[in-house]
Symmetry: C2
Subunit: 99 residues, 2 copies
């Protein structure tokens, strides 16, 4: 059963474009791994929250920033297809600087 990713964003903050951009990145990379991506406008100001079914994988309020695309893909990959290689940018944090 493939999972649905949900991106909740603050429309009043003008974050629809940002949310739609991330949706397209995830749908491009995980076309066969997820059911789909739902974009949800939030009434809560400043909200930018990404979840997979009931599991939150990124919350702007907790992190104090937006996710990086690479980071978001790694978080999603770990949940939906842990063996998937995300390509040249997909180094483990421990590998950074060793190449």
């Amino acid at each position: 059963m493939k999972k649905t990713v949900t991106i909740i964003y603050c429309p009043k903050c003008g974050w629809l474009l940002r949310a739609a951009y991330f949706a397209q990145e995830l749908l491009t990379t995980f076309t066969d791994d997820i059911f789909g991506v739902t974009l949800v406008p939030s009434e809560i100001a400043g909200r930018f929250l990404v979840s997979v079914e009931d599991q939150v994988i990124f919350d702007r309020k907790v992190e104090g920033r937006f996710p990086e695309t690479k980071e978001l893909k790694q978080l999603l990959r770990d949940l939906v297809n842990p063996n998937k290689n995300l390509g040249h940018s997909d180094k483990k944090q421990n590998d950074e600087g060793q190449h």
Copy 2:
């Protein structure tokens, strides 16, 4: 209870950008009227289908074409907020040519 719009598209046909564009149009116009928009890659070639919950409002296979943005907004408006005015482009078909 706000409804969710689903756009099922054929990723192999390269229709993600088209689907994401329509999603953004609908989310911009119906921010307060819908719960969200789900983008769903389909394994069925040539599929481009828009539904509101279980109700199909546009199916490319039936229509033989893609929807116009105005048309899609009118179809969605009729379901989620029938009294909503979509602005200057929102003439009834019967009014066409009378102005």
